[in-house]
Symmetry: C4
C-alpha cells in the first residue's frame, strides 16, 4: 500500500525489493577465487539516486562558470556581452536534462545492477561531471572569438562519450535479456536502442560539422534537444 523512491523495478517479484540474480557462469579465477559473472546484482536504487545527484550538481555548477561583469558602470552592456555564457549554459543544461530523462527511462527497465553496470555508469557520471568545464571552454571561445572549432568539438565529444556509454549500458543489459525487467518487451527495448543509437549519430554529426563550421555544429546539436523530448514509441513507464 505504498509507493517509494525510486519506483520498484519491473523484474522484482512482489514485495522483494531486489534479488540475487548474479549470472551463474564462472568467467575467471582470481587468486583462487572463482569470479562468477560480474558479481551480485543489486537493486539499482542507490545507483539511480547517486546518478541523479551527480546530474543535479553538474547542471547547477554550470552557473559558476558565468562571472558577473566587473564594471558595474555599464552593467547592462556587460550583462549583454555575456551572451556566449548564457548560450553555453542553456545548451549544456538542456542536454544534461535530456541525459537525465533518458537515464530515467533506461533504469526504469533495468532490474538489477551488477558490477559491470556500476562500472559503466561510473564512467558515464565521470563524463557528465566534466561538462561544466566543456561549457566553460565553449563560452570562452565564443566570447573571445578564437578557438570556436576546437571548443565545439571538445564540447560535442564530451556528449558523444555520454551517448557511447548509454549504448554500452543498454546493450549490456539487453544482451540475452540479461538485466531487463518484465515491463518492456523486445520491441520496446529495440525502440530504446534505436533512440540511443540515433543520439550517437546525431551528436557525432554535429561534432564533425563543428570542426568545419562551429555555428552549424552547435545548431545541429541544439536541434537534438527538442527532438529528444518526443516520446519513444513502444516504451512505457511500467506495465
Amino acid at each position: 500500500m505504498s509507493t517509494s523512491f525510486p519506483p520498484p523495478r519491473n523484474g522484482a517479484a512482489g514485495g522483494v525489493p531486489s534479488s540475487n540474480v548474479g549470472d551463474e557462469v564462472a568467467l575467471a579465477t582470481w587468486g583462487g577465487a572463482v569470479i562468477r559473472g560480474f558479481g551480485t546484482d543489486r537493486d539499482p536504487a542507490r545507483l539511480v539516486f547517486f546518478s541523479d545527484a551527480v546530474f543535479a550538481i553538474a547542471v547547477t555548477l554550470l552557473v559558476l562558470e558565468i562571472r558577473p561583469p566587473e564594471d558595474t558602470r555599464h552593467l547592462l552592456h556587460g550583462l549583454a556581452a555575456l551572451w556566449p555564457s548564457y548560450l553555453a549554459y542553456a545548451i549544456t543544461f538542456l542536454l544534461i536534462g535530456q541525459v537525465w530523462a533518458n537515464h530515467h527511462i533506461m533504469f526504469d527497465h533495468i532490474r538489477g545492477a551488477d558490477r559491470m553496470v556500476l562500472f559503466l555508469n561510473t564512467l558515464l557520471l565521470m563524463d557528465i561531471a566534466f561538462l561544466p568545464f566543456a561549457a566553460s571552454v565553449l563560452a570562452g571561445a565564443f566570447h573571445d572569438g578564437h578557438g570556436q572549432r576546437t571548443a565545439v568539438v571538445f564540447h560535442g565529444l564530451a556528449f558523444g562519450v555520454a551517448a557511447v556509454l548509454f549504448n554500452a549500458i543498454w546493450d549490456y543489459a539487453r544482451h540475452g535479456n540479461r538485466l531487463l525487467g518484465t515491463g518492456i518487451d523486445a520491441e520496446g527495448a529495440r525502440a530504446v536502442s534505436r533512440r540511443f543509437r540515433l543520439a550517437l549519430v546525431w551528436l557525432a554529426t554535429g561534432t564533425l560539422l563543428g570542426a568545419l563550421l562551429p555555428v552549424l555544429g552547435m545548431a545541429v546539436i541544439a536541434a537534438f534537444i527538442p527532438y529528444y523530448w518526443l516520446p519513444i514509441r513502444g516504451e512505457v513507464a511500467r506495465p
Copy 2:
C-alpha cells in the same frame, strides 16, 4: 504499513506506484511513428527528487558569491561592507525557499509527469540554477553603487520567469483535469492557480518598480516572502 519519499501520489491506485495513463489521442506522426499525447506519464518521484536537489544546490551555492575580505587588519569593517552580499543572499535564499515550498504543494497534487511536464520543469530548474548569478550581479551593483536598476530588473526577471513556468505547469496539469490527483477539488485547484497568478503579478510589479526606484522594487519583492508563507486556503496536503 510504510510511508516513503516522496509521498504517494493522490491519483495512484493502492499499491501501484505509478500507472501508464498517457493520453490516448494521437497528436502527430514523426517518421512513421504515431506520437500519442506527450508520452507516458511517469511517477513524478524522480522529477521531485531531481528538482529538490537542484533547489538545494542552488541555495547553497549562493554563499560562494560572497568573497571574504582580503584585508584582515580591518576585518570587522570589511565584513560590514559586505552588507549588499548578505542582503542578496538572504532575499534570494528565501525566494528560492518559497519556490521549493510551492513546488512541494504543486507536485503533491500532480499524479503523473508526462514529457511536457518534464520539459517545463527542466526549464524551471534552468531558471532556478541561474539565480546565484543574478544574486551576484545584484550584490555587485549595490556594493559599487552603480547599475542597481539594471541589477534589480535582471534579478526580478529571473524570478518572474519562474512564476511564468509555475503557472504553465499548473495550468497544463489542471486543463481538463489532465494530471491532477484526486486529493484536490476544483476549488482547491483554483486557489492554487490564484496564488500562482498573484506571484506573477507581484514579481512583475516589483521588477517594473525596480526599473524606476531599485530600493522600492527590492522592497516589494522582499514583501512577497512573508506573504507566501501563509497557507493557501482550500489546499490540503492529502485527503
Copy 3:
C-alpha cells in the same frame, strides 16, 4: 513489508503517510480568507530530504575555500602553512555534522511540518549554508594573524543562530504536544530540550570568550563536538 527513506513518522497511522492535522483555531483573516493555524501539516519527508541535501552540500563546499599553494617548488611548506584552513575545515565540518545528527533526532519525533516549521527550518538552512563563508573568514584571520577575535565571534555567532533556531523549532513542535509523534514521551522531549538549550549556552560562552581570547573561544567550541556525540538519555529512535 517495506522500509523507506525517510523512516515513517511516529505519529502516522499505519499505512497513511501523512495526515491533515492542521490546527482548527482561526488565527487571522487575510483578504477575506480565514487562515487556520499555520496551514496544512505535511509529512516532513521532503523537508528532511531538502535539509539533508543542504547540510551535505554545505560541508562539501567547505573545501573550496582551501586554495592550493601557488608555489609548488616548496609544496610541503606551502601545504603546512595552510593549517588554519584545515582547522577551520575540520571544526566547521564536524559542527555541521553535529547539526545534521541533531536534526535527524529532532525530525524523528516531529510527525508533521506545518508552515511555521517549514519557515523556521528554511531560516536554519539559510544559516547553515552561510557557514562556508564563516569558515573562510576564520581561516583567513588565523592565516594572516589579524582579526582573529572578529572571526571567532563571527563564526561562533553563525552556529549560535543555528542553536536558537533548533530551540525554536523544537519548542514550537513540543508546545501543547502540537506536532510531536507518539514515539517520545514527555521525559524524552525534555531531555532533547535540555540538550538543545545546553548547545545554545555552550556556543554563546565560546563566542563570548572568543571575543577576548580567540584561541580559548575556539577551544570551547571545539570541545562541544565530542560531547555532542554522546547519546541523549531518554531519547530513542522509534518505539
Copy 4:
C-alpha cells in the same frame, strides 16, 4: 508490495523499518546520566543518503579545480597542457566511485547505526570531501613539474585515511556481530574484511612508493581501481 530507497536492512523484521537495538550494557555515567552503549541504533537510511550526497558532491566538485585556458588563440594547445588536471580528475573520480561502491556494500550489511558508526562515518565523509583539494594539489604539481612526491603522498594519504576508516567501521560493526544484518554469514563478513584490509595495504604501498618515485606510486594506486571492480566472493547483496 513495495521497494524503497534505500533497500530494507537485512536485520529488520518484516515491516518494521528500524528497531531500537541499542546495547544494554552501561558503559559510563555522564553528569549522572547512565550512558548505555553508544546510544540508540537508528536505521542507517539517512546516514546512507547523507553519505551518498557527499560522495556525489565531492566527485562533481572535482571539475571546478580545472580552469579553462585563458589564451583561446591556441585553445587546442591549452587544453592539451591540462593533461595533469584530467589525470587527477579521472583517478580521483574513479577512486571515490570505488569508495561509494564499497560503502554501498558495507551498509547493505549493517543493520543499525549507533552513535559510534555515525561518528566514524562523519570522519570518513570529512576525509572524502577533502579530496578535491588533494586532486588539485596533485594536478598542480604535475603541471609545474615540482613537488610531485609531496603531492602523490598527500593524495595517497587522503585515500589511506578513508581505508582506515572503512576498516574501523566494518570491524566495529562485525565485533561480536554487533550491528551486522542476517544477510551475510561469517565467511562473507571475513571476505569483506579481507578486501578492506587489502585496500589499506595497497594504498599504503602506493603512497610509500610515491614518496620515492611519484609516477610509480600513482600507477600502483591507479591499478587499484580496476581490481576493486571485481566482485567480493561470498558477499551477496541480500539473501
